[in-house]
Structures are given as C-alpha cells and as structure tokens.
C-alpha cells in the first residue's frame, strides 16, 4: 500500500494541446482518501519543515483520510491563503514531499495533490470568515502577487486595515499574467483573491506606486508600514543580434498577452499575439515550459525548447518537463543562440545556434556549457521567446532611493523579517530574491506580516 502515489487523472495530451483547459484533473474523493491513508502521521513531521508557509500537513491529511474534507480545508487555510494555487504550482517534490518519510523507500505522499483536492472541494462551500475589527492601523502593500496577497491576508486576519496597490487592472501578479490557464485556471485565482478581499483587504487597481503615489506619501496618509512585493518584472534578453526583430518576445510579454489580455481568444479579445508555425523558446525553466506549451495551443506546428545546458540541468519541475514532452515539445539541448535572423520586413525567420558540450562544474554546481567551435547551425522559426529570467522592476526604487539594493538590483531585505534599510518598509518575494517560486514569495509575505505586526506593536509602546 505504501508503494506509489495514487495517480492523478490528466487530459489526453493529443486533446489538450488544442485547448487551454487544465491539464491535470484532480483526485476524486475515493482517490484522495486512498492517498491520505498512505501518510504515516509522523510524530515529528519533517514534511512541515519543507513548507515555506508552515501548513499543518499531517493534520490536514488525517482529516482527508476521515473524509472530513471541509475541515481539512480550514486546517490548510489557517496557514495558507492560496491553497488551490499552491496545490497546483508548488514544487512539492523539492519541499514538503522531499522530506516525507514514506518517500525514502517509496514514492512520497502526494501532499500537493491532496492540498489541491481539498481546496477544490471546499470551493464555494466555505463560509465567509467573520473577522474582528480592523483597528490596529493601516498597512500598505505594493503589488497583488503571491507575496503581497499573502502578507495582506495575514495582516487583515491580525486586525490591520490593509490596502493593496496593484499596477495592472487585475490582481494575482504572476498567477494572473504569467502562469497559463491550462496549469492554473484563472477562475481559481479569482476565487482565492475574492476570499482575501472578503477578509477586508482593499485592492486598488491601476496604481503604480512610484508614479501616482510615492512611498513617502503613503506614510503621510498614515500607513504605518509598507510591504513591497513588486516581483521581478524586467525581462532579460541575451544581448545578441536581431533581438528586436518582430517576432521576438520576452516570456513575460508573450504570456501576458495570452493570459492577462486573453490573446488566445483573439480577435474576440483585441490584444494580438504572433506565433506562426514554428516557435523557439530560449531557456528551460518553468516559464519556458509554459511559453512553449502555450505556443502549441495557439496553433504552432512545432514548439522547441532551446537550452544551452543538458537535460539534467534544466531548472523546470520534472512534472512540467514531462508534460511538455508528452505534448510533443521538441528539446534542442546543449544549444546556445548566437543570433536571430530576420527577413526583409524585419520578421524573425530563424535562429542561429552553436552547439555546446558540458565542461567543469561552475559555482552553481552545474556543469558549465562550452561552445563547440564551428558547430553553428540555423533553425528556421517564426517566433523566438526569451525565457531566461528577469531582474527586479526599477520604477518604485527610482522613487525611493533610500532603500538599499544589492548588486543585482534586488532589494536588500532581511530574509527572516523582510525589513529593508528604510524604517517601516518591508519587502519580500522576487523583488528581494530574484525570480523564485510562488510559494517562496508567499513564505516571505507571511514572515513579513509577522514582522510588520511586531514593528507596529512596538511603535505603540
């Protein structure tokens, strides 16, 4: 019985490449109970140490095993404000499930799948939480992504009056503009955000802090503390010839057009996106997989991952890579783009790559790719998507020069509390760490909420 995880049903790859519906379908009640019974209910649960937001994992799993799904949902909600999201996009295999004792000899308990099941089960069934007075003072949150939403929800529960300032016309940050519908349905994100609003959190859309309002003004308006969760929004490019040709996108732009602006329903929705027949995605992280799989669904005949290292070095989750392979994504590993070629109208027509081989390990412990001389070749493509990471967004920092930054341009904030060099200002998520995961950003939001609470309590003394 301890052997393998109960499998989660999925949409057939051949069908799903033609639609934007969710790929994985979630457990049934029976499957969930069966999986929950694989949990050993350890006295000293190591899985919890692996969870950045400290979910009481064995407790919620025990409730699932008893069929008490709604109670299980409440248990998770005590610590995690976005369970339906985390159950889908957390890299559990590197976190909770990696520490799971069952996982030593067998497959770890499918904590992520169970979390997702419970959150989906409780959707629409939960009672609106009644909260006490929000009279402990005002807190401003900048950015309605995973870090900001988590900090906001926790602070609201503690009794603060919380306002989130969001630059876009929708909340969710990367959950909304970045992660595609087929991996994280947007109505689930909307639902989770609505629940956070019901806690009394106000979201002000179309507000670019640093432009319409400065940090100083927030303090003048009697916000007692500010949390910056503006993410890592400034895409990197390779700096090679041809990168500004028509048909070269950052993954951010490509995914924002499709997810936030719904270009996959063009022309009903008016934002266009260009894919063509063949698409090359440069990079091999989760964002690259998302972009490559999105391109297929938009009608590309071929979608290719171009990555300068090898299979083992790909930073994406194994599950995402597997899904991409099942859907027919081609992998051109150990290839580095050196130039993008255009036709006379300035549209992309190909990408020149040089083959690489793996040399010595570098600082990151991964083997360094070295170009093989004379091995250049041309791949004909219509679109190139750069998914090679991003740097922190500079708008807010331009306005608040007194916040210290690191040499990478990220905000220099204490890991534990999120405290920055500016009094009353806290930060967390990608704007501090550089591009990382949703759950790490949520963890940072959670820790900052606690630190903000302490900070404001001390102000009153």
């Amino acid at each position: 019985m301890k052997g393998k995880k109960v499998k989660m049903p999925e949409q057939d790859p051949k069908k799903r490449v033609n639609n934007f519906k969710e790929v994985t379908l979630g457990y049934t009640e029976e499957e969930a109970i069966k999986e929950a019974n694989r949990c050993l209910q350890c006295k000293n649960p190591l899985c919890m140490q692996g969870c950045p937001v400290e979910v009481d994992i064995p407790d919620f799993i025990a409730l699932v095993a008893e069929g008490e799904f709604e109670k299980a949902a409440q248990k998770i909600k005590e610590k995690n404000n976005l369970p339906a999201v985390c159950g889908r996009v957390c890299p559990q295999e590197e976190q909770c499930e990696r520490k799971c004792i069952v996982g030593i000899k067998n497959e770890a308990v499918a904590i992520g799948r169970l979390e997702r099941f419970v959150a989906d089960y409780a959707r629409g069934k939960e009672e609106i939480e009644v909260i006490g007075n929000q009279d402990k003072g005002k807190v401003a949150i900048i950015g309605a992504g995973p870090a900001g939403l988590t900090a906001a929800a926790d602070l609201a529960k503690m009794g603060y009056e919380v306002t989130i300032f969001e630059a876009f016309h929708e909340a969710g940050g990367v959950l909304t503009y970045g992660i595609p519908e087929f991996r994280l349905p947007k109505d689930i994100v909307k639902d989770e955000i609505e629940k956070i609003e019901k806690l009394g959190v106000e979201i002000k859309y179309n507000h670019v802090v640093g432009k319409i309002k400065g940090l100083e003004e927030l303090f003048e308006e009697e916000y007692k503390a500010v949390f910056i969760g503006t993410g890592a929004g400034l895409p990197r490019f390779l700096g090679i010839e041809g990168e500004n040709l028509n048909g070269v996108y950052s993954a951010n732009e490509f995914l924002t057009r499709v997810n936030l602006m719904k270009a996959y329903r063009f022309p009903e929705y008016k934002t266009p996106v260009h894919t063509g027949e063949k698409v090359a995605v440069v990079g091999a992280g989760n964002v690259a997989m998302d972009a490559a799989r999105t391109a297929l669904r938009l009608g590309a005949k071929e979608s290719i991952i171009v990555y300068r290292r090898g299979e083992d070095e790909m930073p994406a989750r194994v599950e995402e890579i597997d899904h991409a392979k099942e859907e027919g994504i081609r992998f051109e590993l150990l290839n580095n783009p050196t130039e993008i070629l255009g036709d006379k109208e300035g549209f992309v027509k190909g990408i020149k790559c040089i083959r690489m081989e793996l040399g010595e390990a570098d600082d990151s412990g991964r083997r360094r790719p070295v170009p093989i001389e004379g091995s250049e070749w041309i791949m004909e493509v219509d679109t190139v998507i750069m998914a090679i990471g991003q740097r922190p967004n500079p708008i807010l920092l331009k306005d608040a020069q007194d916040i210290e930054t690191t040499k990478w341009g990220t905000i220099d904030a204490c890991d534990e509390s999120g405290e920055t060099s500016k009094e009353g200002v806290f930060a967390g998520g990608d704007t501090v760490t550089g591009a990382a995961t949703v759950i790490e950003a949520m963890g940072a939001g959670k820790r900052a909420a606690r630190a903000i609470d302490d900070y404001i309590k001390n102000l009153r003394k």
Binding site: V208, K211, I212, F237, G239, E253, T256, Y269, H274
Partner: protein
C-alpha cells in the same frame, strides 16, 4: 471613475477628450503618458497626456481613429467612463533652462507636443513652432500653439494651408537663421527621423517622443523596446522621450507594423459580427 467630462472633435477622425482623473492629474508632467482600456475585451492602449489641469482634476487626451481600439475611444461620449486608466507613466522631459526652442509637430504629434511647449514656455524659453499635416483639415491645436509661440509656421503636404511641403523645409530655414538650443519633434516616425537627420547636421540637441507598442507600461514585458545609441531601452520606463540623434528609427518603423495583419483581422471580426468566430477551438 475616469469619466469623460468634455468631448470635442478637432478634425476628421481626431477627437479630444477631457477625463476626470484627479490623482493622475496631480502627478502629471509634460512627457508622461497613460494606458487606458475601454472594456473587458479591449487592449491596453498607451496615450500621451495632451494636457492636464490639477485644480479641476482632469487630464486631456487626443486620439486619432486608426483602428478598432482608437475608434472605440473616439466613440466615447460625455458621461461615459474608461474601464481602466493608469498613469502617469514614463519619464517627464526637462523643460527649464532653455532660451530658444523649435517645436515641430507632424499630424497628431501636436497633441503630445502641446504640454511640453506649455512647460517650455513657462520655463522662459522662446518657442518657434512648426506644425505639419497632410492637409488643412488635419491640422490641430493651431490656436493653442499660436498663443505660446513667437512665430508659428504651418506646412501641408498638399499646400492647402501654409507652406506646401515638409516640416523639414521650414526647419532648415529656421536653423539657418536662428540660434536654437533645442528642437523637440513629435510626429510620424519618418518625420522624426528626417528632423533628427537635419538637426544632427546643425549640431542641435533634439528630443523626440516614440509611440511604441506597449502592454503594461511599467517595464515588465519589454514589448516597447527601442534601440537608442546602440543600447536596448524600454520606451515606457526609459522614455518615451529620447535623444533624437540616437534612436534607431528604422527598427521602430518595423516594430510598428508588427501587428498590421492582426488589425485587419480585428476589423473583419467586428464587421463579421462580434463574437461569432467560427473556428473557435
């Protein structure tokens, strides 16, 4: 929120809207732009702020109907609201400390130029304005510029008003005769290109303003990129105003045509009846 307070048709297919947006108005500076969205299915459209009134809490935009989305904005009536309006975005331009500035506008470029001229004038500069358009009907804001300028020249492609020919013809004359310390040129990409070529010969500093394609307007997508002096810049956060002598205009011309096929598709779709897409997967 973001209600249309006043509407005026300035010329054929060119409309001026005054919009209620007190917070944006309180921070607006010459050179700033906005991003607006009319409805749920609409694009995010960048528009330069053509004027602002902090006391009244309003901002003014001027739009030319060139496609579906701009037409949609032009069709808004007094009392209608924008669904979204975000700004002020971009970097304002420096307008103080100049003696004599030549301001060149081509067509709709007069709109984004206007607040800059106002501010340059306030900053003590003498203004020489050259307004160009295809024909007399398409000239806008002539009276507004006249009030601020020591001299105003008009050029039209067809000679229906003023000099028959291009703004550069007049500009060359002015540069020959006057001691100018800056030229600000806003209009079609090709006009800005030729103006910059000319001013470079005369060694006169030139500022242009680009209307790149944009999504977020905050630096997160890179769709607005432009090569300036050999470096890639993001128009929305580094611009939209740049040193005219350094911009790669040919690249910008090309990028502007990126979605021309898609624009046609939107038209066909709308005329074919909104929402009845046959090949919906």
């Amino acid at each position: 929120m973001y209600r249309v307070l006043e509407k005026e048709v300035l010329a054929l297919k060119i409309t001026r809207l005054k919009v209620d947006a007190p917070k944006v108005a309180s921070k607006a500076e010459p050179g700033h732009f906005l991003i607006v969205r009319v409805d749920e299915k609409g694009e995010r459209i960048p528009l330069t702020i053509a004027d602002y009134d902090r006391e009244e809490g309003s901002i003014t935009i001027i739009i030319q109907e060139v496609g579906f989305s701009s037409e949609q904005i032009c069709n808004l009536e007094v009392g209608d609201e924008f669904l979204d309006l975000v700004g002020p975005l971009g970097e304002p331009i420096k307008t103080g400390g100049y003696n004599k500035v030549v301001c060149v506008a081509g067509g709709l470029g007069a709109a984004p130029l206007y607040p800059k001229v106002k501010s340059l004038h306030k900053g003590g500069a003498e203004i020489i304005t050259i307004l160009g358009a295809r024909n007399e009907e398409l000239l806008i804001l002539e009276g507004d510029f006249e009030r601020l300028s020591s001299s105003l020249y008009v050029t039209t492609d067809d000679g229906s008003k003023g000099h028959k020919g291009f703004v550069t013809d007049i500009l060359k004359q002015v540069l020959e005769e006057e001691d100018v310390d800056m030229v600000v040129a806003i209009g079609p990409m090709i006009m800005m290109k030729f103006v910059s070529q000319l001013t470079k010969e005369y060694g006169v500093k030139t500022i242009v303003s680009l209307n790149s394609l944009m999504i977020d307007g905050t630096g997160m997508c890179g769709g607005c990129r432009v090569t300036v002096g050999g470096d890639t810049k993001f128009s929305c956060v580094d611009g939209p105003a740049f040193d005219g002598h350094l911009v790669d205009y040919d690249e910008q011309l090309r990028r502007q045509n990126f979605y021309s096929k898609h624009e046609q598709e939107v038209k066909d779709h709308v005329f074919g009846g909104e929402g009845c897409r046959v090949n919906e997967g």
